[in-house]
């Protein structure tokens, strides 16, 4: 197979260490990408925090006194509402007390109180709306902008558009919940029709091979002494013999370069993940100074803090080293016992420890990013696939609510301490019913801050010029700094 040079470069991705990329790109026919960035960027990196299962807006971030007043009264939405499990019981008050934080006075629920310390850095969007109450499709929608499989994750688009800052590490890194994948699994960070290197690379901090196949597997016991490095030298010599008689096919060079980069990744990745280099003060910031190595069997805030804290600290180290996009997941698939945000049965039981752990860790991350100056060029985004109903399900739980939920942003180019797009009195849906904020708007805003016009980053696939925002999306000017 042959390609244009541009295409070949694209497909070989990070495989082009020292080649004069710019010169080769100059005559590229695909102006859409060659012109990136479209304007001066405000930020260069993104952390996406995804709460899988559907995090409750009304118990954490979106304070609704009306629900306290009407707690236990039959719910009335003023319209016909279809709930996923028909969980339309009486109104259910927020399950925790709310208190004001920061100069902005943002009201936060008790489990997320640690985020009070950074409330003035955050822009909350309370009128988010999705399209479906089905986990799978809703997760796809928030992760890829489409509700069916087959589209690249936001990180893949950004990796494709902006490339890598540090070629020794993948541009798009994913830190899944340590207990397992959320709905759709790795399809949420898939490259789909984009070249494969833009897929999110799973990183497993603490594992012997933190990246799949970073070092020889268990069956490589025959690779003793210097067999591995010598083998790579031999390989390089063989490949050069091979390509010397085969000019005009840059893929051969690209493949040779990919082996050189692989060797550099073997050094860079473990170093990036080595938390032992962090000071006690930093560990404390993330709630990692507890000194424990085992936890209770039941879900508990300390363990949640530890799990999320490690991921957040790793994220900071990756961002520091030039990773473009880090995606962190909280919550595995929607099974039992609940280790996710899908609290149909009991909000306090699941949301309590999950939210406290999340808030401890993310507050630490924001403070740390600020401390190191990285927050200025890093967008931190918190989201979920949908919210939960202000009515109760089975007394203590809440059903899915795709009509209204909260997303928040902080960092590079974001105006902190504000709330954009209020929800109605119950937190059911956007106060302005016809004009909720959609995922396309959030994606458009993030791309905008990265210097990308979301309508101009396109790729031809399946008969259409595809983009992250489909045919939608408006930059949310209100939340720009």
């Amino acid at each position: 197979m042959t390609f244009t040079r541009r295409d070949m470069l694209e497909r070989s991705g990070q495989g082009f260490g020292a080649m004069a990329l710019a010169a080769l790109l100059a005559d590229d026919a695909r102006a859409d990408k060659a012109l990136l960035p479209h304007h001066a960027p405000k930020a260069t990196r993104v952390v996406q925090l995804f709460m899988a299962g559907g995090a409750s807006q009304v118990d954490l971030f979106d304070y609704k006194p009306e629900l306290i007043k009407r707690d236990g009264q039959p719910s009335d939405f003023g319209e016909k509402v279809e709930a996923f499990q028909n969980g339309l019981g009486p109104w259910l008050r927020p399950q925790w007390e709310f208190k004001p934080y920061g100069q902005c006075g943002k009201m936060l629920g008790e489990p997320v109180a640690p985020l009070g310390a950074v409330a003035d850095d955050i822009a909350f969007i309370h009128n988010m709306a999705g399209k479906t109450g089905v986990h799978s499709q809703a997760t796809y929608l928030q992760a890829t902008g489409f509700q069916n499989p087959g589209f690249p994750g936001m990180g893949a688009w950004i990796s494709y558009g902006l490339g890598s800052i540090n070629r020794n590490l993948p541009a798009f890194v994913v830190l899944p919940d340590h207990r397992g994948f959320a709905s759709n699994g790795p399809k949420n960070w898939d490259s789909a029709f984009l070249p494969g290197q833009h897929q999110g690379t799973i990183l497993k901090p603490g594992a012997p091979r933190p990246i799949e196949d970073l070092f020889p597997g268990n069956h490589g016991s025959y690779l003793t002494g210097t067999a591995d490095p010598d083998g790579r030298d031999t390989l390089a010599r063989l490949n050069r013999m091979h390509s010397s008689g085969r000019s005009g096919d840059d893929r051969l060079e690209a493949r040779i370069a990919s082996y050189e980069l692989a060797a550099r990744m073997q050094l860079a990745a473990p170093e990036a993940l080595d938390l032992s280099r962090e000071t006690k003060e930093v560990l404390r910031l993330y709630g990692l100074d507890h000194g424990k190595s085992s936890f209770d069997r039941d879900i508990n805030p300390l363990e949640e803090t530890d799990a999320m804290g490690r991921k957040c600290l790793v994220a900071r180290r990756l961002l520091e080293r030039g990773v473009r996009f880090v995606q962190i997941w909280s919550g595995n698939d929607n099974g039992f016992p609940r280790r996710n945000w899908d609290s149909h049965e009991d909000i306090r039981r699941d949301h309590g420890p999950l939210a406290r752990g999340m808030a401890n860790a993310i507050a630490g991350l924001l403070i740390d990013l600020k401390r190191t100056g990285l927050l200025d060029e890093t967008i931190v985004m918190w989201t979920t696939e949908f919210g939960r109903m202000p009515s109760s399900q089975g007394g203590k739980g809440r059903d899915h609510n795709p009509h209204g939920f909260t997303t928040w942003l902080a960092g590079g180019g974001i105006k902190g301490g504000i709330t954009h797009g209020p929800s109605d009195a119950f937190g059911f849906r956007s106060a302005d019913k016809g004009r909720p904020t959609l995922v396309y708007d959030v994606h458009a805003t993030i791309l905008h801050l990265l210097g990308i016009d979301h309508t101009r980053l396109t790729v031809r696939a399946g008969g259409a010029d595809r983009r992250l925002t489909d045919v939608h999306g408006h930059v949310i000017e209100d939340i720009l700094a």
Partner: protein, 870 residues
């Protein structure tokens, strides 16, 4: 997509609607004996480009082997080819490779990309789809048998409507179901809800896109929200195509692999149907004789037995969960004293677990006995259903009249074959009632015990079997129900003449016998396919009637904004056969699919032939004449050689759609034999090789690379067909299965079959194959991305599969013996299909001497020479 910038566009290339124009009757220029070369050479001459020379025989043979079988050449075959100097040596080699069963495996794998085949559903939970593979096997057989392309197409869309196609016609329908399926959106959300409607709309969308992209190279799915912006496809066209698939779902479809058995079953079904209809006629007579009173009582009884709203939580008795169906379980009621027994009534349970619903856990085989002895040493048999399976009655009560003089204190239901739950087996019964002649239930509230029971109160408990509560029917009216039933029975005794009762009873016996015979036939095979589905719970389907769902044009593709209803049709702008969709009112749903199949697979449908000719070209030349095989529309690539494409398309049609003939035509051209070498002059004029002045060097795809390692290591398991091998371990199967590749040991011999037999998971794709740019089974993949990333390098260096392959490869060459240098030479011959150069041999021998043969074989598997085919 990859526009030729340096060459001026030809006249044909400038026509944006070129692909929809009728096939041009083109004669190849007279400048070369082979038509392919004639077209290409004429153009090259015009542009002043000198093509490269032909490759050597060894390289050519490696090319042919990978292209036609997806496997590397065996050295002895290669040697035979090289030393065959007869003029038809190449043609003979092609014939031999086309006859090799590995050819069908290779073609099937290419086709599975297009069909986006997988062995799981995808979406949330990503459950397994254990019966998808018969479609893959059908593909392999079809490609090996050189099935004419029109038949190949028709069967995949409407094989069930082509009687002479036999079982293959059913297996082929796996095509319509090959793509992802939203389990939650169907099994947990009914069609009455918006989310349920969306799920079904998206399901049809996938079928429409799959069929049209595959066979027409037209991206009609772009017209879901508005008329296609670039191609002549209207929004109405799109929804008319949805209407073609409006009756079907994706589900398991029973069929018989053995055509003779297929016929026997059809006959047995016909006998049963005839008797059912005769019984119906007598029932009508019976109804007339029973008169208004009989009608009233019948209606009254039906009303009383209606399921009450809501669900009584006290479901019934539930045995322990067993790993095998053939486990004996029993439940027994103690009536307190010995009683004369008139009849015993069983009521099924209702539980939504695994989407089962009505008849949950109802046993397949059982008998009911009564006795005064609690151990049933001597007992009277009330009913014995232990030799054949009883169809699940759902919620319909089953009443068994006892033989005269039946009496006993204990009544026992002994289950000898359990019901399937979800890869496991149980028995569950809501209620067992023991009635006297007046319809009084002796068993009500009496104690019961069982061989085993899960006591998950209040839902499941052995005591629930006599608690008077079951799903359906208001418990408060139970006595009334029984009394009405008794009245109806006595009315029947007086009003129906003995002769008629006798005929009814004879007929019922015949029917029972016929049903028994039918059931005695072996269980059918199952393929996951497009089918009219008769389901339960939220996933009801349109069965058994198969009446198509009404399809409306949706404003902006929004399910909540339906506009006018549309009828099935093809795309209006392509009017090569406008009458095919003139279907009679009340036509069977399959007529719609058959009409579409005939409309697509039509001699006068130019796109259909162009698309396939282009695909086959692409499979052999590494790039299509049109580089977007699923999109020959305006958004697709413009062909540089429209005349050649038209020639090949027409040729394929005129050869009766013989793909083998087309393979042979392409592979016997000089163009196919051109070396993948550079020529600076030509490169300057046509750097992208749009005019085929050199052979395209091909990178082995994930499957070819994996299969090549297996073949080279000498450990390839060539077993064909059957269920896929799994190179993962499943944990948490009960909710969302976790497919854990880490837990599978690649040293095991269990996963050494060709990659086409791999179990393909959609959500957690095989990481090794994925990093090698394997097709994503959720996407319609007409061509794969080709990347060279550091992650790919790491996988090929360090993945356990490669490490095991290198070790086994080393064992193979070590066994053949010789000096290190001789063994390295042998290894290079096996791996590269050619002898290693002296430099290569020296490098690797030195390395093997220092670090051992397995480490050297690992290096060989990582070379560019192994990964690319010149």
């Amino acid at each position: 997509m990859f526009k030729m910038m340096l060459l001026a566009l030809t006249v044909s290339g400038a026509d944006p609607w070129w692909s929809t124009r009728p096939l041009e009757k083109v004669q190849p220029p007279k400048n070369a004996p082979h038509p392919v070369d004639a077209f290409l050479m004429a153009r090259l001459a015009r542009e002043g480009i000198v093509p490269t020379a032909e490759v050597d025989r060894a390289t050519l043979y490696r090319r042919l082997c990978f292209d036609l079988t997806g496997l590397p050449p065996a050295p002895q075959d290669s040697q035979r080819f090289i030393s065959d100097s007869s003029p038809d040596a190449i043609a003979k080699a092609i014939d031999t490779l086309l006859r090799n069963p590995a050819h069908g495996e290779r073609m099937a794998r290419l086709w599975l990309d297009v069909a986006h085949y997988g062995d799981t559903h995808g979406y949330d939970k990503d459950k397994q789809r254990p019966n998808a593979w018969p479609y893959r096997d059908w593909l392999i057989r079809a490609f090996n048998a050189n099935m004419p392309y029109k038949e190949f197409t028709t069967l995949q869309i409407a094989g069930d409507m082509v009687p002479q196609s036999g079982p293959g016609g059913i297996e082929a329908l796996g095509f319509l179901a090959a793509g992802p399926w939203d389990f939650i959106g169907h099994a947990e959300v009914p069609e009455s809800k918006i989310d349920g409607k969306i799920a079904r709309h998206l399901d049809r969308d996938d079928m429409v896109a799959t069929v049209t992209n595959t066979f027409m190279g037209t991206t009609v799915q772009c017209a879901q929200c508005h008329d296609h912006k670039f191609d002549p496809v209207t929004q109405a066209d799109y929804y008319r195509l949805q209407a073609v698939f409006a009756a079907i779902d994706r589900a398991d479809r029973p069929y018989y692999r053995d055509p003779a058995m297929h016929e026997r079953v059809k006959q047995a079904d016909a006998i049963v149907a005839r008797l059912v209809s005769a019984r119906g006629e007598l029932a009508a007579v019976e109804k007339k004789l029973l008169g208004p009173e009989g009608e009233k009582l019948t209606a009254e009884l039906a009303r009383l037995q209606q399921p009450a709203p809501g669900k009584d939580p006290r479901f019934g008795w539930h045995s322990q969960i067993r790993p095998s169906a053939n486990t004996t379980e029993w439940v027994q009621v103690d009536l307190g004293e010995s009683r004369p027994i008139n009849s015993v009534v069983l009521h099924g349970c209702h539980d939504d677990f695994a989407g089962i619903g009505a008849g949950f856990g109802f046993p397949s085989r059982y008998r009911i006995t009564c006795s005064d002895d609690p151990e049933m040493v001597k007992s009277t048999v009330i009913i014995d259903h232990t030799s054949t399976d009883v169809p699940n009655p759902g919620l319909k009560p089953l009443a068994y009249p006892a033989p005269a003089m039946a009496q006993g204190r204990y009544v026992r239901l002994t289950v000898t074959r359990l019901a399937t739950r979800q890869n496991d087996f149980i028995a569950a019964v809501a209620e067992m009632r023991v009635l006297d002649a007046a319809g009084k239930n002796y068993a009500a509230g009496k104690t019961a015990r069982a061989s085993s029971s899960i006591e998950a109160g209040p839902r499941w408990a052995v005591a629930n079997i006599t608690d008077g509560a079951w799903y359906g029917g208001d418990p408060a009216t139970r006595d009334v129900q029984d009394a009405v039933a008794a009245k109806l029975a006595s009315l029947r005794a007086t009003k129906i003449p003995a002769e008629l009762r006798n005929r009814i009873s004879v007929l019922e016996n015949e029917l029972a016998a016929a049903e028994r015979d039918r059931k005695a036939l072996p269980a059918p095979s199952v393929v996951y396919a497009g089918t009219v589905h008769s389901g339960s719970g939220a996933f009801m389907g349109t069965g058994p009637s198969g009446k198509p769902r009404p399809i409306h044009l949706l404003k902006r593709g929004n399910i909540q904004q339906p506009q006018e209803e549309v009828q099935p049709a093809g795309i209006a702008a392509f009017n090569h056969a406008p009458d095919l969709f003139n279907l009679k009112p009340g036509h069977a749903e399959g007529e719609r699919r058959l009409a579409l199949a005939r409309w697509i697979a039509h001699d006068d449908n130019p796109l259909y032939w162009r698309v396939m000719a282009n695909r086959v070209w692409r499979w052999h030349f590494g790039r299509g004449l049109v580089e977007t095989p699923n999109d020959l529309g305006r958004m697709g690539d413009m062909p540089e050689h429209r005349e050649l494409l038209d020639y090949l398309a027409g040729w394929l049609r005129d050869q009766g759609g013989s793909l083998h003939a087309l393979h042979k035509l392409l592979l016997t051209s000089t163009a196919y034999r051109r070396a993948a070498t550079n020529n600076p002059e030509a490169f300057k004029k046509d750097p992208d090789n749009r005019l085929w002045w050199h052979g395209n060097r091909r990178k082995l795809d994930a499957e070819a690379l994996r299969d090549a390692m297996l073949a080279t290591s000498g450990t390839l398991d060539t077993t064909m067909f059957g269920p896929p091998f799994q190179d993962f371990v499943i944990t948490h199967p009960e909710h969302s299965p976790h497919y854990e590749y880490d837990k599978f040991d690649p040293a095991s011999m269990k996963a050494r079959r060709r990659s086409v037999y791999r179990f393909i998971v959609r959500s957690q794709q095989q990481p090794f194959m994925t990093v090698l740019d394997c097709a994503d089974p959720s996407l319609l993949v007409d061509r794969r991305n080709e990347t060279n990333s550091p992650l790919q390098a790491l996988a090929l260096l360090n993945n356990d599969f490669v490490l095991v392959m290198a070790r086994d490869f080393a064992t193979r060459v070590d066994k053949e013996g010789g000096s290190t240098e001789a063994r390295i030479q042998r290894a290079l011959l096996l791996a590269l299909g050619r002898p290693g150069s002296p430099d290569e041999t020296r490098e690797l021998s030195a390395y093997a001497t220092r670090h051992g043969m397995p480490a050297a074989c690992r290096v060989i598997f990582n070379t560019n020479a192994f990964a690319f085919v010149d």
